[in-house]
Subunit: 506 residues, 2 copies
Amino acid sequence: MGSLVSDFLTMSKSNNNSKEFNPLDPEEFREKAHKAVDFIADYYKNIENYPVLSQVQPGYLRNRIPETPPDAPESFDTILRDVQNDIIPGMTHWLSPNFFAFFPATVSSAAFVGDMLSNCFNAVGFNWLASPAATELEMVVMDWLATMLQLPKSFKFSGSGGGVLQSTTSEAVLCTLIAARDRALKEIGVQHVGKLVVYGSDQTHSTFMKVCKIAGIHPENIRSIPTILEDDFSLSPKLLRKVVEADVAKGLVPLYLCATVGTTSTTAIDPIKHLADVAADYRIWVHVDAAYGGSACICPEYRHFLDGVERVDSLSLSPHKWLLTYLDCCCLWTKNPNLIINSLSTNPEYLKNKINDSDSVVSYKDWQVGTGRKFKSLRLWLVLRSYGVTNLRNHIRTDIQMAVTFERLVRSDPRFEIVVPRRFALVCFRLKQFNGFDSAYTELLNKRLLDRVNSTGRVYMTHTIVGGVYLLRFAVGATLTRDHHVVAAWELIRETTDALVKECYA
Amino acid sequence: MGSLVSDFLTMSKSNNNSKEFNPLDPEEFREKAHKAVDFIADYYKNIENYPVLSQVQPGYLRNRIPETPPDAPESFDTILRDVQNDIIPGMTHWLSPNFFAFFPATVSSAAFVGDMLSNCFNAVGFNWLASPAATELEMVVMDWLATMLQLPKSFKFSGSGGGVLQSTTSEAVLCTLIAARDRALKEIGVQHVGKLVVYGSDQTHSTFMKVCKIAGIHPENIRSIPTILEDDFSLSPKLLRKVVEADVAKGLVPLYLCATVGTTSTTAIDPIKHLADVAADYRIWVHVDAAYGGSACICPEYRHFLDGVERVDSLSLSPHKWLLTYLDCCCLWTKNPNLIINSLSTNPEYLKNKINDSDSVVSYKDWQVGTGRKFKSLRLWLVLRSYGVTNLRNHIRTDIQMAVTFERLVRSDPRFEIVVPRRFALVCFRLKQFNGFDSAYTELLNKRLLDRVNSTGRVYMTHTIVGGVYLLRFAVGATLTRDHHVVAAWELIRETTDALVKECYA
């Protein structure tokens, strides 16, 4: 036996002498990664030189890339050259300071290196033993952010709840919805799943309907309650009660409400407290989707948007939107971890170990859809420590201040109107209806304005339609945006409008 | 108006003169990221100095970390020191060459810098316009890997199908299951969801049952068909047919089969072709979960494990397991993208644009659960180009060769037995039943052997139970593992066994 081992060792030694394939040679790693750092730092330095909205046509890449992968290795320099020449022209530059579309996806040096460290370990933290630090740091960081948001103890591990990092709001909603669904089905029987009804408003994120369908909620039982301009498109508790009562009268079972703090179209805010009153009367699980608006609530002056949160069941917030973490990072807190675990836990033999079986530790695989998961909390931990709470609050305030600047500029031009009140760093505005033109033409003009501004590549904004009104969305908050970018964007909008109006009356 | 603008610009200039908070200052980014690169390269260099299985106790981190986040910034050096002192001791080092647990999660310099580039852009590629390059490169890379696997045209964009990067197998199964479910419900009516039946074996990944429950399949309709040692724990097509026939006789509707190429416990292989025969007779959607084993099929000599794939509906494979991509990277191909899109598409006003509305482009948000998504394909693209197909095949072969070495070492010791035939790079073995001891004691001895070996911190293996037999899993494949690590692991196992046996007969 000893001789067999020594044979293998001799063989192994001779193998090691030949030039072996080592994709994680530390020195090669060092060289490539340093090169990548400089490439990226230079990209950030020069980002304003690129058109913010990509100007390529569909299919542009097919002709630039071989149809099959190479048999032999290609150098990193060659690949970086291709990234520069073939990929960058096809990028819509989300990190450009001239990006005012959708909601920004914010970033920071701290989160970048946090993700490098997460990759460094490449730990698969499905349960505690597979990566104790990954599990425990996530618990700490979720409690930290809960403290910053002044969430009650019932949402913290230091209390009776807890938090988990999901990839997206969709997953956060899915996991909580499944928990609520299974609790209800236990009572009414799985054959009555067709009785379960879920509630959102017509402003709730489009993913809500998708997620409800995934969870097997019958499509005709997904209520999209209408909102109106007069209520700033927030969900009316009165109307919710009416809809719920009608469902109950029909023998249906109210299940789940998704309330939003900062809707995607216009950052409308649903009144959590009053909605929770209604929900409590019917044992409805209330989830608050604060993907965008939640981040602002780390500032005491915006915290009131979360008033009533102590009465809801779960809350999600995406730091990748406004807390500088890069994609993807969605925080979910719940008062009822056990209900989520009841629905999502698995217990295969090959993952069993004494410590996990003792129930003394968290197994994050039971808090999410998948089994595998990265060491997700490092990014958020790095952000919170590298900048500190004070800077993060000021970062939110500065963004909002820039939006205020833009709002004032819009108001200073009588051709424009602000369509809904600005709550955070999104301004919803449009060209007013001009004398002698109808509303369809107004919409057309606004569309033209948007197309022309975006096609310059100097600014990227988007649009939405609410209450039948087509409006332009100007979302401030890209990490590199400063006052002068906002002012220059306004100047471009104004000049484009001058030209449009001239054509109009020509 | 002009004066308002110039007022703002003056204000802005004076703001810029004060020391502003700039979390993406390119030079600060450069400095931090270079520091992180060296930290990580040094970690890889010294990784063998750490115990592979973390030796901390539950709760170890709470006492090392403040209860609340800091108000003021902390330096990157301070944080890196804490990573070294507080995080690393709590890591189970998945990238250690002495990690033989679960399945390895493999990595490479190329994938690391690929992810750095993905983060660089931080593009949210929910639809084409939001990031044309992210959409198109993903299509190219999915076709590339399909070519490497000799998948038929029906799974490629260049044919009539297509592929998408998911995070985990769970998501891949969920998306295809929902597509199959909704197609069926359209025919039988949503009120008959309780009739839908899904099939796997008792070796199918534990996430399958979880995902089926998420999708609203009634728990009593999830069939876990037993397998036996004599069939190497592969799913018997005959037995499948019997179970399906019984369901049909009861008026139930067979829906979905999850077949596995390389099960988690023992890398068993379900016979795709023969299972597809049965499925075809009942219009069952067949999904092949080749999360681990699929990667080996890039080698012509292992491709036969996918024989029959041309007859299934979808296939998933996780390059983060064996193709060096870091977490998370799960490839899903399907012949029926439209069915997935039918179930998962959303069309909110704020994401509409002319190009997307023209249907000429792919909107990857409609191929997944969430809306947002990273530029996921860069990592895989970097791996395929940086190493080339030839090296990747040899990397698979080298890992398998090391497993063969280990298998021979086990066989050379009469106290041990190989429990199931080795297919890839996982060896399933155990201490045999010794004279005078019963099977319960044999299990206890094997457990003790595992505990003692793992507690040394020199090696980490795991266990499973199949067909009532407790066995040890030795999974070769961590990126840094070489022959001498395998031989040393065996030596440790052998010596530990010597001591155990001595105690036994003492």
